[in-house]
């Protein structure tokens, strides 16, 4: 474990390092937040209230929340299943699966939107099938769901896989010898043991879903009232020079992310306390 220099015993050189770091973080991270908050506050409560009353704004928030909920549910389950399969099983396609799981982190959001457009949009692979089923994916809610699921996929899986790998299988084997079925073993033993990884993964999924912009913009078309998420609302507001509304909504999202950050840090503390 690294040795720590206490605050009292910091040499001048070390003080300089600390101050530099604080200045850097302050400039790059804190200053922009302060700027937004002070601008939003400076323009008074009126735009915030107006935004609260604006159906487009409310709709945007609701849409974002619904998408986030779907992402958490679907990718939460997929994440746990995927982690179990990848950590506890050996099979040929495992490497391929591993590579695919990481893909969404490497793909730019606009490319994600483009990819789905190429599958479901005009001239896309599945366009005829969609026509037959009278389904609309692009520029409609389903497209937003798919895009959100894509970009949020890796988080829960990675977090749970990490915890599973560390846990080992002893407890599950013990449960089996005591007569537990596969489901009982999972529900009573595995799930409680992975809860921190799962929690972390869900929070990261939420944050990513809340913040998704590029992919939903491309696949959704930013149609007000239909495919306008909270972030797209902000974008449109900026484009239309409706800065107060944009800043108000940005403030809301900023506070949501700070709240999520607090939860992340709290989970970190709980986890190390339990260890």
């Amino acid at each position: 474990m690294a040795r720590l220099e206490g605050a009292r015993s910091l040499s001048p050189g070390q003080c300089a390092v600390v101050l530099t770091v604080c200045a850097y973080i302050g400039l790059v991270l804190v200053l922009p937040i302060v700027a937004l908050v002070s601008r939003a506050v400076a323009q008074g409560p009126a735009p915030l209230l107006a935004a609260a009353g604006d159906p487009a704004a409310r709709g945007g928030l609701v849409l974002t929340l619904v998408l986030a909920a779907i992402a958490v549910l679907a990718n939460g389950i997929a994440g746990v299943v995927g982690a179990l399969v990848m950590v506890r099983q050996r099979f040929l396609a495992r490497r391929v699966l591993d590579a695919l799981v990481d893909m969404p982190l490497a793909v730019s959001p606009v490319m994600t939107g483009l990819a789905f457009l190429l599958v479901f949009g005009r001239g896309g692979w599945l366009e005829p099938a969609l026509g037959l089923l009278h389904l609309k994916v692009t520029f409609a809610f389903p497209g937003l769901v798919l895009a959100t699921l894509f970009v949020t996929f890796p988080f829960t899986l990675r977090e749970v896989a990490y915890v599973l790998a560390e846990l080992g299988t002893d407890e599950e084997q013990a449960a089996v010898t005591l007569g537990a079925s596969a489901w009982q073993t999972f529900w009573l033993i595995t799930l409680p043991n992975i809860r921190f990884g799962l929690g972390n993964g869900i929070v990261l999924t939420l944050a990513r879903a809340l913040g998704e912009f590029g992919a939903v913009l491309v696949i959704g078309g930013a149609i007000s009232g239909k495919t306008q998420t909270a972030t797209i609302f902000i974008y449109n507001a900026v484009e239309e020079r409706q800065e107060p509304a944009a800043y108000a909504m940005a403030l809301v999202l900023a506070f949501a992310s700070i709240a999520l950050l607090v939860v992340i840090e709290w989970l970190k503390r709980r986890r190390s306390a339990e260890n």
Binding site: V17, V85, S108, V110, L114, V119, G211, T231
Partner: protein, 277 residues
Amino acid sequence: MSSIAAPGTQGHGLALRAGILAYVGALILIPLSALLFRGLEGGLAGLREAVTESTAWQAVLLTLWTAAIMAVVNALFGTLTAWALVRYRFPGRGMISALVDLPFAVPTLVTGVMLVTLLGPQSVLGGWLAAQRMQVAFAPPSIVLALLFVTLPFVVRAVEPVLMEQDPAEEEAARTLGAGTWTVFLRVLLPPMMPAILSGTIRSFARALGEFGSIVVVSGNIPYRTLTAPIYIFGEIESGQPARAAAVSVVLLAAALALNLGARGIERITGARHGQA
């Protein structure tokens, strides 16, 4: 270590495996394949043509050099930050550690808006900068700043574990053997940090290649000046040129994947050396 054998679990395990493979196949493999196919329609020649088209080329160059500047700054200050957080105790340390995670939580678009309020012509800072004839908003520096915000955690979180594992006994041994502070730093502390700094920087560079939301509002998207590659791709999609957009996407994606693979390779080797993996 074999999975718990015996009849019964085989059924469950296979079903789960099939399920996740189907999910990943449908959600990730198919769209990415579509992107790949469309992008490679014109073959490699088509790729080259799409990327070297003048607007596209300028966009790619801009993406590359802004990411490069960001990478250098990130490597330096990220390492410094990790150093201070791990080795020193000072008031506000906990807050700074928490703040480092912030970019993972904040929507990129909101980051862009924050920078607009900070640097835009209507802001205090923006006005002052304009008076000094320093263009930041709607100019490349704003891109670098946005990238710095978004990728800040990468190097810090990569270097922190390495520093935490560092055994103070090694430093003490070096000192008893007569090494001065700089020597200890250069010979004992820096070498194990290097792979982590490298992999963190590479990952942040790869991330920067695809950054969209934070740049699109603050850079002004001026072609040849502040139009980055992802925004170029966006433009091509909007103007009904999916093939060209796909081509440039394929190039960027290949670059990002190659970089991430490299970073992972570095992490594996050093992890194996430390007896983990």
